[in-house]
Symmetry: C2
Subunit: 343 residues, 2 copies
DNA sequence: TTGTAGGCGTTATCAA
DNA sequence: TTGATAACGCCTACAA
């Protein structure tokens, strides 16, 4: 037994009207302009609604209104807290303007991303925020062309055909490596991949820029390529590092994100490498778990909530402002120094 | 310039029909029973759709169909990976039956939970999975009474008015403390709170049960109450522990969840307490970050994905099977021993 | 194989 | 203040 009121599921304004002995229009008025209804009929209608378990049908409202009151965020990987924090920022902004947020997780699968996009379009969401598997995918253009505003989050596109919010990853990479150089390191590993990821490319470039600017010999900065930005990949990279003879081994590693750094930290620790004495560590993103690690992680902070918030504002502007023009917002990252580099 | 095709946003089946020179019914057939349409008219219709940027209107479909093709999960706290993993499990199950999942985050706020529930009801979701702020809240009964199936996740209710999936927290608490007793500890702290949380209460009770069963003096098991299950609370508890004189200080702590344990681990480490030599640590949930900590955390594993998956199955049964009866599924937790207790 | 008509629940307009 | 009516876009009988 489901224990539901019999027949209650389908009570509509019509049923309410009948039960309250008024017309359908009056019920609608109670719902939308209560002031235009005399207090006692309003009472009667309200009571009928409660008795029938009336619930407004959002589909019908939406059909009539022509558009929904929701925003969507298609995240790349819900198991990375970085994206959850972005979602949180979006949610805050959406809530502020009375919109609700639907969250989708593509799990880095283009196919899944595709099906989410299709569904969201059909739902006539006001706008789609997305950290896409591939920012250059034509499917994004298609969605935009058909009329749903699309904003890129933590990704950019050279052709500037979309609004986007991102953080200056080249600068972030520079900051990370400058910090390590400042601390006296002359053998540094960059850990991350795959290099098809825009952010990984940029952070690596920034690292190289900083290295060159300091006049250090190129061979002192080595690239340790991983196949993803996960804890497991970090561990694996840690194993590779720990396996190197001490004289050749880098004295510091700059990881392309915090998950990787956390994995590396664990592997280093269990291999008996002391952090930061024998291996200094810099992560990227500054997720909460970075600061919460046993050896708190130095990391390059991205303004995650603000990223989400700004993205929401951009998509809303595109959805509502006829004068809208695309903008590419670039935030500045900030190095947060903690024990993993400070000995 | 938004770069969208002019007027494309609102192409409907009617427009497509006109453009393709066929009737509205034919277009609908192309969409829903393509086999009943001759290949070349189908081609023509498809081309018209592409040209007009036609996108099915989900609201209209839903309005006609009477119910949506979505499930919803209202999580308690999206920043706790435990709930993200549950969501992942739900998503998998939902995807398997062609449903999509909408995620909401109540952030432990009853008010926000309430507004999410209201919206989901209006959206006529097929069912709502929820880890509620308060499992006994009457608002949950109201939703169910009005006809939307509701399943409790990681929570139970004494009156069994809902389906629920949970893990035996009393047993989990026992396992954790038995493990510590096995390792020879006779002064153990239980860290967690608030005690209004069902799981915290149960884990604490399990801890006490195990303690009593071992015949250990009650004063050896101390409760360190926190105001929440967060990293910050864990740190704070760590400070309290580290501040105690060594002879009185517990030699082990059982934390009510992994976030708390991670915070405690960090604080202990930075206070110079060695884990597990001076302080052994057991967490709860076995989130990925537990195994990824610098000192990998012993934890009580909950089958998170399975929890979500089963919850989805229950809610679907309730939504579609007229013979449905409520069931309370209780999973068995499993202790995963790692370095934080194994020295 | 294709076309026509009616209705899903809501809202807004207009008339009473 | 209240009531009747049309329309949103889609789907499905049923008719041609």
């Amino acid at each position: 037994m489901a224990g539901r009121d019999p027949g209650s599921r389908n009570a509509s304004v019509k049923d309410v009207a009948a039960a309250a002995g008024v017309s359908l229009g009056t019920v609608s008025n109670v719902l939308n302009r209560p002031d235009r209804v005399s207090p006692d009929t309003r009472e009667r209608v309200l009571r009928a609604m409660a008795e029938l378990g009336f619930v407004r049908n959002e589909s019908a409202r939406q059909l009539r209104a022509g558009s929904s009151r929701t925003l969507a965020y298609v995240m790349l990987d819900a198991s990375n807290p970085f994206f959850i924090d972005i979602a949180q920022g979006i949610d805050t902004a959406a809530e502020a303007v009375g919109l609700s947020l639907v969250l989708c997780n593509s799990r880095s699968l283009a196919e899944r991303e595709q099906s989410h996009l299709a569904l969201l379009e059909q739902q006539r969401v006001q706008g789609i925020l997305i950290t896409p598997v591939d920012p250059d995918a034509a499917s994004l253009d298609d969605v935009a062309r058909r009329g749903t505003p699309v904003v890129l989050v933590d990704r950019t596109r050279a052709d500037q055909k979309f609004c986007s919010v991102a953080v200056d990853d080249v600068l972030g990479g520079q900051r990370a490596v400058e910090h390590l150089i400042d601390r006296g390191h002359t053998r540094v590993a960059f850990v991350g991949g795959p290099t098809t990821l825009g952010p990984v490319r940029d952070r690596w470039r920034g690292a190289q820029d900083a290295w060159a600017a300091a006049g250090l010999p190129a061979e002192g900065l080595v690239e340790v390529t991983t196949t993803g930005l996960t804890v497991a990949e970090g561990r694996e990279a840690g194993q590779r590092l720990a396996g190197m003879p001490a004289p050749r081994r880098p004295t510091a590693a700059f990881c392309a994100n915090d998950l990787t750094a956390l994995g590396l930290l664990q592997q280093a620790t269990s291999s008996g490498l002391r952090v930061p004495e024998e291996l200094a560590l810099v992560g990227y993103d500054d997720i909460d778990f970075a600061g919460a690690a046993a050896v708190p992680l130095t990391s390059v902070r991205q303004p995650r909530q603000e990223l989400g918030c700004t993205a929401a504002e951009l998509v809303l502007d595109e959805a509502t402002n006829p004068e809208h023009t695309h903008r590419q917002v670039l935030f500045t990252p900030e190095l947060v120094a903690r024990a993993s580099t400070l000995g």
